[in-house]
Amino acid sequence: MRFSLTDDEQMIAGSVCELCAKSVAPDAAAWDEAAALPSAIVTEVGELGLLGMSVPEAHGGVALSCVGRAAVLETLGGGSAALAMVVAMHDSLASGHLRHAGSAAQQEAHLPEWAGGETLATWCAPGPKLRATQTDSGWLLNGESPVTLAAAYAQILVVNADSDDGVVSLLVGIDDKGVRRTSATQLGLHAVGASRLLFEDVQVAKDAQLGEPTDNALGRVAEEHRIALAAVACGVGRSALRAAAEYANEREQFGRPIGTFQAIQWKLADAATELDAAALVTGRAAWLVDQGKAAGAASARAKVLATTAAERACSGALQIHGGYGYTREFPIERAVRAAKMLSAMAGTNRAARNAVAQAL
């Protein structure tokens, strides 16, 4: 277990911090409003290497540890949770799935383009309405995916679908015949490019299948998914906490800064304590992944703890901001909506709690 970042990790986290201050935080509200990310910001995060964080150097990636990636996602999430989740869907999930389950040839064919950001990918979770059936030449996909983040920006999808043999993972081009996407309006993360994907007799060649349904790549990807959600949640929560602390010091009522009232101080203290614990538990889960150890339960604990802490911190920050916090002029209400989204994702915290309980 480690409590600090390596020099390399620190360097990239530092660059992300600068990027956030310069190009992310100032525009995140406008992106939410427009329900879209400008392509320039995606290019910029690509230039920093964030779209290939998890990818080995041999495939043109940065080969950052999971601990380092969590730190990057936390920082980025503090500026724009939507942007951070687009990065996570591409790197932690889509690339992650290819890393865990793809053949050498598949990795060679795709990872360099994905790592460089020339191609954006995202990852569709399995859902009850989507099925794959085996054909002579490969697979036939039919049905509808659960709402998929970053699908509006993706050129390629890692689709997980139920089949007679279990969940099969398939690479599908967004422009392939029979694929349709419609945008989905949700509570928050409006700029994340959430879409419903409809598949109508989509033919997928045998060589686009990633691994076998039995090799549990989905389990490893799920760990990284939860760690990514936890890391972004920590960033969202800490960013709201910072804003609330600053506001509490400036805002005066009853002739003194409201930060001098115990009720306000404790709200901030509890948020800081809970977020600190969440970040540590998230860091431990990431460290386990780096050690090649099972992180199923650890990542599930991190996801529950971090998203819950973020929800509380953000709601507390809104309360401290009063009426101002309820308006879109301030970043807090956006943080509240984002935290709730992160909490409800990956099968809600019920699924994460079940995973924790099963491990006990």
Binding site: V147, L187, L318, Q319, G323, R328, R337, K340, R350
Partner: protein, 380 residues
């Protein structure tokens, strides 16, 4: 204790339910997406008898009491929280004028608040530097030979875009804090009044919230409501009653979210079999039932003319915070569907959050309650 509603209370609740189902519900999602003042809903509210529920019939009201009012607000808020807050404020303004106004003021304004000629009433107390602490107010009213001249600005004014009558608080002397504040009735067409652009909010988009600016607004002597320098008391009494309205509103939103989640769960056997889901619904139902009792108790006390300030604060802090919890649980139970705009629960969540802030934040309610506890122990 008798918890059953009277025939009148039942009738008002049923009228509110009909208005909510037929008028509010069909357009609530669209109103949320577009934002803006709900002109048609408000016009229909006057016809449905929802604008002046606790106002004497001689002044155009329904004369149905505070419990009826609370029941009606909960019904309406289940369908459209935005329209409901505009109606809550209208009812509150009508009560303020009916209670503190002289005969001429009552006769001039209350019937117009009841029948829609004033469109709606608005309550202008908060300022940029005076939220939880109205004593920080800076808007001033200067006495002239034939009346008053108002200068200053207000913030967070519900229905600020369209209201035909504003109850405005302003300093009328150099006394510090909450002393030296007076209450004025300011018609919406008063020269010098500028209405700000609607705030862009997290939710409650079916009501407008604006700033107001007063630039040498001339008002006659007859615009002064209640005694000069006694405005703070008017505001606090109005807010005590207002808190019953907001508690009832939050309760309605929370119940709507619980209903949606329960229907969703009932339709999915796997989900319905999960204890985590069952208990989430059970907790929301229990807490909202308690919130309803606290709210109706405060309403009953006010209706009987008893002291109800602390009980209104109990109701507001509990109902709004538990309704927020119920909306959060509804999203959790429904998962992706709960996040989806089309299901309505995410709107409930965004709408209900402000109830913990306006008409006295949860923190202010806790101050009111704890002060009363300490005062009672100090006496004994």
């Amino acid at each position: 204790m008798d918890f059953s509603p009277t025939p009148l209370q039942t009738a008002v609740r049923d009228d509110a339910r009909r208005y909510a189902t037929e008028v509010l519900a069909p357009h609530a999602a669209q109103l949320d997406a577009q934002g803006g003042f709900p002109t048609e809903n408000i016009a229909a509210a006057a016809k449905a008898g929802m604008t002046a529920i606790n106002i004497d019939p001689t002044l155009g009201g329904r004369g149905a009491g505070v419990v009826s009012y609370s029941l009606a607000v909960t019904e309406m808020a289940s369908a459209c929280a935005g329209t409901t807050v505009a109606l809550c404020v209208n009812n509150m303004v009508a009560e303020v004028v009916a209670h503190f106004g002289n005969e001429a003021q009552r006769a001039e304004h209350v019937p117009k608040l009841a029948d829609g000629r004033h469109v709606v009433g608005a309550f202008a107390l908060s300022e940029a530097g005076a939220g939880s602490d109205p004593g920080g107010m800076r808007t001033r009213a200067r006495k002239t030979d034939n009346g008053w001249v108002l200068n200053g600005s207000k913030l967070w004014i519900t229905s600020g875009t369209d209201a035909g009558l504003f109850v405005v608080w302003a300093r009328t002397s150099d006394a510090p804090g909450t002393r030296g504040i007076s209450t004025f009735l300011l018609p919406g067409d008063t020269p010098g009044l500028t209405r700000g652009k609607p705030e862009h909010k997290m939710g409650l988009n079916g009501s407008t919230t604006t700033a107001l600016e007063f630039s040498d607004c001339e008002l006659p002597d007859s615009a002064l409501l209640g005694a000069e320098g006694k405005g703070f008391r008017v505001a606090m009494m109005a807010l005590d009653g207002g808190r019953i309205g907001i508690a009832s509103q939050a309760l309605g939103v929370g119940l709507a979210a619980l209903d949606t989640a329960a229907a969703y769960v009932a339709a999915d056997k796997t989900l319905a079999a999960e204890q985590g889901v069952q208990w989430a619904l059970a907790d929301s139902a229990t807490e909202l039932a308690a919130a309803r009792l606290l709210t109706l108790r405060a309403a009953a006390l006010k209706e009987r003319g008893e002291v109800f300030s602390r009980q209104a604060s109990h109701a507001k802090v509990y109902a709004t915070e538990r309704a927020w919890a119920a909306c959060n649980r509804a999203v959790e139970v429904m998962g992706e569907a709960g996040l989806d705009r089309e299901m309505g629960v995410e709107r409930n969540l965004r709408d209900v959050r402000v109830t913990m802030i306006y008409e006295g934040t949860s923190e202010v309610q806790r101050i009111v309650i704890s002060r009363d506890i300490m005062r009672r122990f100090g006496e004994s």
